[in-house]
């Protein structure tokens, strides 16, 4: 193989390897938010109560997860 062709092949392979390793989670680490249940149903309740439910969230990443805000509507 010509030296010029080897150089082009090496550059292409270099780009390919860089692309394959570009996943930020596996390479650099990141938080990963997961929610066990996204909908909770109280079913039938009598009017006049204040109902409360705790949703459990997990961080399955390898960096701290920060909850910046929770907006309700």
């Amino acid at each position: 193989m010509e030296p010029v062709n080897k150089l082009i092949l090496a550059i292409i392979m270099g780009f390919f390897l860089f692309y394959c390793s570009a996943d930020p989670i596996t390479t650099y680490g990141a938080p990963k938010l997961t929610i066990k249940e996204q909908i909770f149903d109280f079913h039938e309740v009598m009017e006049g109560q204040i109902l409360e439910h705790d949703f459990v969230i997990r961080n399955q990443g390898d960096q701290p997860l920060t909850i910046q805000d929770v907006k309700t509507g």
């Binding site: 009017e47 204040i50 109902l51 969230i57 929770v70």
Partner: protein, 153 residues
């Protein structure tokens, strides 16, 4: 309103507390909360709480909507029924159609069911719109409001 853990370590768990206020509500009630986080692949996530709300006091119909001919007398009825297993009492509250539309409360089933009779003997010359508040002995529902509308044809 939502209370939540602001930071969760890797492998850890946190909670997001969502409240649902049911006073004065009836039927399906839903509330959705949106979380904003530093997760680079999922910076927002949604969660929903829902409930089917049963009224403490059932109004049938839910409000009074009448149509009458100009000058004709007017009469209508509404049922007020307790949905709790304890006796209900009703007392007059604020009423903004006094002297335009009279009403009487008749207890048809003791502590359980009432009929509100609305009556106007002399003809109506203009449309009516107002409300009747009735005070109850239920701390969970101290007042019921009946909305009244009468259109002329």
């Amino acid at each position: 309103m939502a209370a939540y853990d602001k930071a969760i370590l890797p492998g850890g768990e946190g909670k997001i507390k969502i409240q649902l206020h049911t006073s004065g509500r009836e039927g399906l009630l839903e509330k959705t909360a949106e979380i904003f986080s530093n997760d680079p692949n999922q910076s927002t996530a949604k969660m929903t709480v829902k409930a089917q709300i049963k009224p403490i006091i059932i109004l049938t119909p839910t409000h009074l909507h009448l149509t009458a001919k100009k000058g004709d007398p007017l009469s209508a009825e509404m049922e007020v029924k307790a949905n709790l297993d304890k006796p209900l009492t009703l007392k007059p509250g604020q009423y903004n159609l006094t002297e335009r539309l009279n009403y009487t409360v008749v207890e048809v089933e003791k502590g359980k069911k009432f009929i509100i009779r609305f009556k106007r003997t002399h003809g109506l010359t203009e449309p009516l719109q107002g409300y009747l508040h009735l005070k109850t002995n239920y701390p969970e529902k101290p007042e019921v409001t009946i909305f009244i509308q009468c259109d002329l044809i």
